[in-house]
Symmetry: C2
Subunit: 298 residues, 2 copies
């Protein structure tokens, strides 16, 4: 049940989206036996070609697994694939481990843990940061919450998918850290967008300006990696506006329960909503520059 002695745990992997598909590929590459399932079944095919087994439902995928990994879009999706009629809990044996890598916030993670506990199944949350490119080259940051022993059991699998793997605290703590990450990331890329539009209107060479800024106190991953896509209007790929908006909705829901005002995050949600309204919901977060372009054109 652990990789001590070299035996890798059998993995069920549910959710083969832009993140899940490359993550499952990395598990196969690392030598894990993986059984995959995805609601849109044809997305299982490239994984099967790479050596995975496939299953007709989450329950079926989980039947012989030691660890069941789930990564889907939002809270109702997690509830369905884990707790639903054909969910993981209807297949996974008692005592086994669910690792949910979706971003659903700490409150929802604790609720799913509660459902798992009623089936005598252990649970850890382990959301990720780094986007599709980080999923592809196994350089994700993975923020986990749960019992130390459960984390250790999942560690060989998590290390096959990410570069930084950290246990942040009890169940929900991984989700909490992910929400903090999303607040900081979204604030940073919106600041880059507003600054970039100012550079354009002031007549500066945008690329040269971002290059100079990258090396100083205003430098960031977003200045280095996202600003070039904003400048080039390269809106395909990256982390979708729709999902970033969902993550900030979770931030507000969880912060409201703590009585914590999030003035910056509330404003940024408006920028994301405006970008989605202009047709960028399925584009990467770099497309938020369109909001400033519209503002300055009016």
């Amino acid at each position: 049940m652990t990789d001590a002695g070299g035996t890798l745990p059998a993995i069920a992997f549910v959710g083969l989206g832009a993140m899940g598909a490359p993550m499952a590929q990395n598990l196969l590459r690392a030598g894990f036996a993986v059984t995959v399932h995805n609601r849109t079944r044809h997305r299982e095919e490239p994984l099967v070609e790479a050596g995975a087994s496939r299953a007709s439902s989450p329950a079926e995928a989980a039947r012989d697994a030691e660890i069941c990994i789930t990564i889907v879009s939002d809270v109702p999706d997690v509830e369905e694939v884990i707790c639903g009629p054909e969910g993981v809990l209807n297949g996974l044996r008692a005592g086994r481990l669910v690792v949910d890598m979706s971003t659903i916030g700490p409150k929802a993670a604790r609720a799913v843990q509660h459902s798992c506990a009623q089936s005598n199944v252990r649970f850890i949350d382990a959301p990720v940061s780094g986007g599709p490119s980080g999923a592809q080259d196994a350089s994700l940051a993975i923020m986990a919450g749960g019992a130390e022993a459960d984390f250790q059991e999942a560690l060989s699998a998590l290390r096959a998918m990410g570069k930084t793997v950290a246990l942040m605290g009890p169940v929900g703590a991984g989700q909490a850290a992910k929400l903090v990450n999303q607040v900081i990331g979204a604030g940073t890329f919106c600041a880059v967008a507003e600054g970039l539009m100012l550079a354009r209107k002031l007549g500066l060479d945008e690329t040269q300006t971002m290059d100079v800024i990258a090396g100083g106190a205003a430098g960031s991953w977003m200045v280095e990696r996202l600003a070039p896509k904003m400048i080039g209007h390269d809106f395909e790929g990256g982390f979708k506006i729709e999902l970033q908006a969902k993550d900030l909705r979770l931030v507000i829901e969880n912060a409201d329960e703590l009585g914590l005002p999030m003035p910056l995050t509330r404003m940024i949600r408006q920028f994301l909503a405006a970008a989605a309204a202009e047709g960028h919901a399925q584009h990467g977060t770099q497309s938020v520059i369109s909001v400033w372009e519209r503002l300055s054109a009016s």
Copy 2:
């Protein structure tokens, strides 16, 4: 008049604040002959001990200089030390070069250039980023605006004070790039502050959370260098709230003339005003965390 052939230009240096004093020290260290002046005269003393000459006014400092560098706080200060009754233009010979490294925005820089031109003095703007620590270890980013030949003439001096030295365009372009830098930097550190307060309220280890985030897509200089000071309430040192607020005032003044809305920057000015109102005007920008602490306590 240039350093070709190894002869360094004689420098007048006006303004020995938290930035100017260590910058002038670096010029001395690099072998330049430097004549200093500061309104509060006793601040000249450590420079004189390090080998500088001193002068009783900006005009007096500039009399035998080939290049006159100014770095003071705001637009009226620049106007006074360059164009005032005892200003640089009443001492500097025709044909010589003024390098203003203050942050005053492109519009004010062009006005000062106009005054210089009336005295047959050349002008470039060359504001800096990197704060007092960058000034001390000569790792500043220096963003210049002006004629290529004037920039080349100042380059040996600029390289003695900064690591990244870039000509961004004509006079005002250095100021323009600096304003863009301030927009992005302030947005980034406010996002870090809002995220850090969320981490605290969610019960996370703040340092561990920032360490994990630093390595991912939400990572930045601010997460790495400023978040630890926010966590430790280490409010002394760093770039002052009062000066950051002044810089964003210049952003809004310049953006308004371009008809460019700056929604994020306008909100951030409110956070800076709130921090100043709570007694942090002279503290570093990391003290903006106090605004979120107050918000979450109410």
